[in-house]
């Protein structure tokens, strides 16, 4: 299975006589072909080293890697030995990345399912007050949703590209799956940049409230009371959300975007060599799957996991009770008037255009 890239020799009768004395006295690996030919007329090892090491040689064709005969070797973390970069990449992507990545997503799903099964939805402990406070302005919401929608479509389409052949192809058959994959590929390629733009704007908009604060530490220690149901104090965003913000949106989001831009060939004047594509792909998959796992947890909490959460992002308003219970520090600031209850100017137009306005 591990294809070696040494030159294969076609068995030829008795080996050519070799002048051993001459060979031993020199550093064989340093010889070039001209020198080697003098010592061992039949020996082309220096040539084959060049054939196999992936250097760019002369080719009259202007294509980027036209001069490379066999791509050089590579060894990704965990691989026992170096193989041709393409082979190493193939083994890495088809092996650990597909396997562990797939497992990661499945396990995350299972954990969420188990959590839901055992813990159920997190309910509000206090009755609704009927008084509403604006948690997200329309601009903020538009941003979130454009980010969310693009992410989800990227995750789904990306997953189909990565896992579809194992999961969907046997069911759909080549032609149908081919069409689906084609669709996914194009969706992915074009939505990618939308996601990138979204996270940048999202970052600008939300970074202030996601700066770490003292209250994050107890929140983390108690895991937000998710398991105990205990109430842990938090600002506008709790430590969990901040981790999502910094980890998934800012950190992984940028990594995924950067690698994605390379894969999409959108970085001007970059030489899209195979090596760059292979590495980008691996970085992309790792970051994308980690992000996807985190986001799966978030989506759970943002929908069926927690009572009232979804409405906050849907309508932008939460009940005072909800605010007080989940984000007491933030609520306190609203109560004290530091933050106004309604932040969006009434005149602000709704819809996507507000995104840029608010930005």
């Amino acid at each position: 299975q591990n294809a070696p890239s040494e030159p294969a020799a076609i068995a030829v009768g008795p080996a050519a006589p070799v002048n051993l004395a001459a060979v031993e006295s020199i550093d064989i690996l340093k010889q070039n072909q001209a020198e080697r030919t003098i010592d061992q007329p039949g020996n082309a090892a220096p040539t084959y080293r060049l054939v196999n090491d992936g250097t760019k040689h002369y080719s009259s064709l202007p294509a980027l890697e036209a001069g490379v005969l066999i791509q050089g070797k590579a060894q990704f973390p965990g691989q026992t030995r170096a193989t041709t970069a393409g082979e190493a990449w193939r083994q890495y992507r088809n092996g650990p990345l597909t396997m562990i990545g797939g497992a990661l997503l499945l396990i995350t799903l299972s954990v969420i399912a188990a959590f839901y099964y055992f813990r159920g939805q997190i309910k509000l402990h206090t009755p609704l007050t009927g008084r509403l406070v604006e948690r997200f302005t329309p601009g903020e919401r538009a941003l979130h949703w454009s980010m969310a929608l693009s992410f989800v479509s990227l995750a789904i389409s990306g997953s189909i590209i990565l896992f579809g052949k194992h999961v969907l192809l046997p069911v759909f058959g080549l032609t149908l799956f081919g069409w689906l994959a084609f669709l996914c590929k194009n969706i992915h390629n074009f939505i990618g940049p939308v996601f990138t733009v979204s996270i940048i704007l999202f970052f600008i908009k939300f970074v202030k409230d996601n700066l770490p604060s003292a209250s994050d530490i107890p929140w983390l220690f108690k895991f937000g009371g998710l398991l105990s149901g205990e109430h842990v104090s938090s600002g506008r965003f709790n430590a969990g959300e901040k981790i999502l913000f910094w980890g998934a949106v800012v950190g992984l989001g940028l990594v995924v975007s950067a690698s994605g831009f390379v894969l999409d060939m959108l970085v001007p004047s970059l030489e899209y060599s195979r090596a760059i594509m292979q590495i980008s792909n691996i970085v992309h998959i790792v970051a994308a799957l980690l992000a996807a796992a985190m986001v799966m947890g978030h989506i759970y909490l943002g929908t069926i996991g927690m009572e009232g959460a979804y409405a906050s992002m849907r309508t932008g308003y939460v009940d005072d009770a909800w605010a007080k219970e989940h984000h007491d520090a933030w609520y306190a600031e609203i109560e004290s008037g530091k933050i106004s209850r309604i932040r969006s100017e009434p005149a602000a137009p709704h819809g996507s255009s507000s995104v840029s306005q608010n930005a």
Partner: protein
């Protein structure tokens, strides 16, 4: 698959493809014949062996598509139109469209193999970028006109110029791309127009070879063949980059190498050919003679020369030895840069591995001393006794596909077809053959003197236009140019050429791809002096795939091309155009006096190629173009598989169509194939080979220079003669007198006697003399003499080294100065010493410290307009470049892939990409010459006729090349000049 194809799809197609299959299947049987073995052992593995796997891989029932449509599929056998190797191609034509191209495994020359150009031939069937209809330059733009208008206006203008300035004011540049028939017809055409101002590519290609070699031993051609190189034990390529210029020839060489042949490459550049060598010798461009004499020095010093051979077959070798022994190893190293040990090694290899062969090409010919260089190579081979031996010889690789044929029978300024020259006898001979009155032809010329005076050469047409009439050896300077299959960017001194283009009264370009000339004529430049009355016409010629005809490969084999497709667009065959122009000029009747007319494109009449070949057969006795009748060559083309790859000989077999028995014939009846076709001379695979009977292709050196010189006999010594000759010593050439003296006259039939009376072997149209001499007496028609080591009629009877006019070594100029200036030479003043001295005095070598040489890329051919219009080729070389050594580049801060400016003493500044490579040394740079379309950094796009611009354009090196011409033939000096290279800054 095609083998099982039924119905009308063409029985021919079937046997073409299946023959190789059957062949190879039989090869798999235990009793392999030698050819089979050869192929199996590696030379012919393509389908050859591979096809024996057919049993294993047949998976589909039939090859389909084509068949199902019920369309008409035909296979037409033709020959690659690019280089002189002569690779055969099977063109698959479906309903008149050239749809596919199949290898011809049966061809003993190429065994199915092709280089890039040959493999891309089918593009000619599309011709997307060709000129599609006649055009005329009106107010700086090319406009479409009708054929009728074009021919009428052109002929009217020609007649007017002829009337006012005389016929010598028109120069007809013919073409080595024409087939033999067209080339011969064009020579006749210009003769009837009344001028000798005609020439073709051979001038700037192998003219020095032809002159040098024919003056040494008889014929100016490759002595052996690509195939015969399989018999060589050593081969020295000096000034040939065969891997790029004659790629398929390497098939034979590499096979020879596997059988132990030692290969030496001598070249200023480490070429793709050099990469295959056992020894590479880097010499300074232009210093071949010091190097060759360096080798001869060791040969003589060690007594390696073939003394018996020299005694029997060579005249004047002592004189050469005298000169050679002056070339001590130190002097050799000083002049060519090669240390003694390397020269010695090469000499030893050549001497101890005989038969050894020398291969040369443009590296030797394109110098102001080209004639001397090629002779120095001949001397090496004569000293080693290699000439006239299988595996030896001088394998001079010719250039264009039919440059050999066009040289033999085509438009040369100094000769009628067949090297008959221009003397009265020659004219009478040809008038006789053409069936026209000698007096009538004479009337077309201004005078008998002009009729017998060599014309100007294509290398100097620029001067013939620009030079003052009074300094020329003709009435008026040239006012009208007809480019009939020649590019402008292949001649040197582009800057001045532009002036000449602007000064003309009439320019006619007849070419499938006339665009380089068209653009150059149309472009506007600074300070231009344009002749306001100038008329420019472009006529679309058909390619060689749109007509049939014969073509002579480098090894002198003649092959027949079948017509593949009808002429595309509005193009017409060259011979149709010649005929139609002749009609307008008033000598059509004479032009085809003995030639059959047949309907061609659109039902218009044109001369029939077969009939034209027969006329060549009837007249070309000198070099034996007489035996190759259309029937015989066509039989060979149909039965290629019967010819041995190593010897080119047919061991037996009859052609199914004609019943002609080819037993004993050599493939393509390599000339000389003396006598009438009925005599069945088999052709001559290796020239001057005494080990064979004349009627088996044997021979000896020619007696062309008298029988004695200064009291020394020039004839071969006793015992030296071709096998089975009745005369066992040297003898002169045969004529009616000698025949009578020998008592052989009675061997002629009565009719023959009548025809032969007063004639010699070259002029006896009955062929009787040749028949009797060869068949009855085993003698060689042209006599049996010694080769001339001393060519007393040349400027340097013993070849002398002389430095190029433009060089970087003033120290060597002092020791080896060039010739004196010549007042009129081929009708023009020609400078040597004055130019060289001025260069030394003004220290040109300081301003231009790098030797500039030029040459070929495998993908492109000649001026390149044709190949740069072929997308499959153009993609492979998209920009012109200069090869520059890493050190030279570093000194100038130039990096690989950057644009640089290459400037030369002409003042030209051309812009090319830098290819930083150790192929060249730090003192040398190389630029391929196939580009045009840029003019000193400017894209000439806007000046091209619409729709006829090649895909890739670039700077032509010849825009920048300098003055310098061979002292015998007027060959331009393209291989050695000087330049400076600097970084391009916008």
């Amino acid at each position: 698959m095609l083998l099982t194809r039924k119905g009308d799809a063409g029985a021919r197609a079937q046997n073409r493809f299946s023959s190789s299959l059957a062949d190879s299947l039989s090869r798999a049987l235990p009793t392999m014949d030698r050819r089979g073995f050869l192929k199996r052992s590696g030379i012919g593995v393509g389908a050859g062996i591979a096809a024996s796997q057919l049993g294993l891989i047949q998976k589909a029932k039939a090859a389909v598509g084509m068949e199902k449509s019920g369309s008409k599929i035909e296979v037409r056998r033709t020959v690659c139109t690019h280089c002189s190797v002569g690779c055969a191609v099977d063109a698959v034509v479906e309903n008149g469209v050239w749809v596919r191209q199949e290898p011809v495994f049966d061809s003993p020359i190429n065994l199915g193999a092709h280089c890039a150009k040959g493999a891309a031939l089918r593009e000619h069937g599309h011709g997307e970028y060709r000129l599609k209809y006649p055009m005329k330059l009106v107010n700086g733009k090319y406009q479409r006109i009708s054929w009728d208008q074009a021919l009428t206006e052109i002929s009217a203008k020609l007649l007017e110029i002829k009337k006012t300035s005389g016929p010598d004011s028109t120069f007809f540049v013919g073409s080595s791309k024409h087939n033999n028939e067209q080339a011969a017809l064009l020579r006749k055409f210009v003769s009837f127009y009344g001028t000798n101002n005609t020439d073709h590519q051979a001038r700037i290609c192998h003219s020095t070879t032809v002159a040098g070699v024919s003056n040494t031993w008889g014929y100016g051609a490759m002595t052996n063949s690509y195939n015969d190189m399989q018999n060589s034990k050593a081969a020295m390529y000096i000034g040939s980059n065969a891997a790029e210029a004659h790629p398929v020839s390497m098939l034979h060489m590499l096979h020879a190498k596997e059988n132990g042949c030692k290969m030496i490459v001598v070249d200023p550049r480490y070429t793709r050919t050099a990469a295959k060598s056992d020894q590479y010798v880097r010499i300074r461009s232009g210093s071949d003679i010091p190097y060759l004499y360096g080798m001869l020095y060791h040969i003589f010093k060690n007594g390696w020369e073939d003394k018996q051979y020299i005694n029997d077959r060579v005249y004047g070798m002592e004189k050469v030895k005298e000169e050679v022994m002056k070339w001590t190893p130190e002097k050799v190293e000083e002049a060519c840069g090669v240390p003694e040990a390397d020269v010695f090694k090469a000499a030893e290899t050549m001497a101890k591995n005989r038969p050894s062969t020398v291969v040369w090409c443009m590296g030797q010919t394109q110098h102001s001393i080209g004639n001397a260089i090629v002779r120095a190579s001949c001397l090496l081979q004569l000293a080693l006794g290699n000439v006239g031996k299988s595996g030896g010889g001088t394998n001079i690789f010719r250039g264009h596909d039919n440059v050999q044929g066009a040289t033999d029978v085509g438009p040369n300024p100094d000769s009628l077809p067949g090297y008959y020259g221009l003397a009265t006898g020659a004219w009478k001979h040809w008038c006789n053959v053409w069936g026209v009155d000698y007096e009538w032809v004479k009337k077309q010329y201004p005078s008998q003197a002009m009729m017998e005076k060599s014309g100007t050469t294509v290398s100097r047409w620029v001067d013939a236009v620009l030079e003052k009439s009074e300094l020329m050896d003709q009435e008026n300077s040239v006012k009208a140019m007809v480019f009939w299959g020649h590019s402008p960017n292949s001649q040197t001194r582009g800057l001045e050429m532009k002036k000449a283009f602007d000064k003309l009264d009439l320019l006619v370009v007849i070419d499938p791809y006339p665009s380089a000339t068209a653009a150059m004529a149309a472009m506007t430049t600074e300070g231009q002096e344009l002749n306001a009355k100038r008329q420019v016409y472009l006529l679309p010629a058909a390619t060689q795939f749109e007509t049939s005809g014969s073509v002579t490969a480098s090894n002198r084999s003649i092959q027949w091309r079948e017509k593949v497709i009808e002429p595309l667009f509005e193009s017409r065959t060259d011979h149709m155009i010649m005929y139609q122009l002749a009609e307008k000029l008033g000598f059509a009747k004479e032009l085809v006096a003995k030639i059959k007319l047949v309907p061609g494109k659109g039902g218009m009449m044109e001369p029939e190629p077969e009939s034209m070949l027969q006329e060549i057969n009837r007249g070309t006795w000198t070099i034996g173009y007489t035996g190759q009748s259309p029937d015989r060559i066509k039989s060979h083309m149909r039965n290629m598989h019967l010819f041995d790859v190593k010897t080119l000989k047919c061991s037996g077999g009859k052609d199914a169509v004609t019943g002609y028995d080819m037993t004993g014939d050599y493939f393509g009846l390599p000339w000389p194939c003396y006598g009438t076709p009925e005599l069945k001379h088999p052709g001559t695979p290796n020239l001057y080979d005494t080990s064979k009977h004349v009627m088996d292709g044997g021979g000896n050196f020619r007696a062309n220079f008298g029988v004695e010189r200064e009291g020394v006999s020039l004839l071969a010594e006793d015992g030296s003669h071709s096998l089975g000759s009745d005369i066992t010593t040297g003898y002169p050439e045969f004529d009616h007198i000698l025949l009578k003296k020998l008592g052989w006259w009675s061997d002629l039939t009565e009719a023959e006697q009548k025809a032969a009376e007063g004639k010699n072997w070259k002029t006896d149209l009955s062929g009787g003399i040749q028949r009797v001499v060869m068949k009855v007496h085993g003698c060689y028609p042209f006599g049996n003499a010694k080769a001339r080591a001393v060519v007393w009629n040349f400027p340097d009877p013993v070849p002398l080294h002389r430095e190029p006019l433009f060089g970087t070594r003033p120290d060597l100029v002092a020791k080896y100065p060039t010739h004196d200036d010549k007042k009129t030479f081929w009708r023009l003043p020609t400078l040597y010493k004055s130019v060289q001295q001025k260069n030394v005095e003004t220290k040109m070598y300081e301003k231009f410290p790098i030797i500039l040489t030029s040459g070929r890329l495998v993908e492109y051919e000649g001026g390149g307009e044709e190949t740069r219009s072929n997308p499959w080729l153009a993609e492979l070389q998209q920009e012109n470049f200069v090869e520059i050594n890493p050190k030279a580049a570093a000194d100038r801060g130039i990096r690989n892939g950057e644009f640089v400016i290459v400037s030369t003493p002409t003042g030209a500044r051309i812009k090319v990409k830098a290819l930083v490579t150790p192929r060249v040394d730090a003192g040398t740079a190389f630029i391929p010459f196939h580009f045009s379309g840029w003019w000193q950094g400017k894209d000439m796009k806007e000046f091209y006729p619409e729709g006829a611009m090649p895909i890739v354009r670039g700077e032509a090196v010849n825009t920048a090349t300098t003055y310098g011409y061979d002292a015998v033939t007027m060959m331009q000096e393209t291989k050695t000049t000087i330049c400076n290279i600097e970084k391009f800054t916008a």
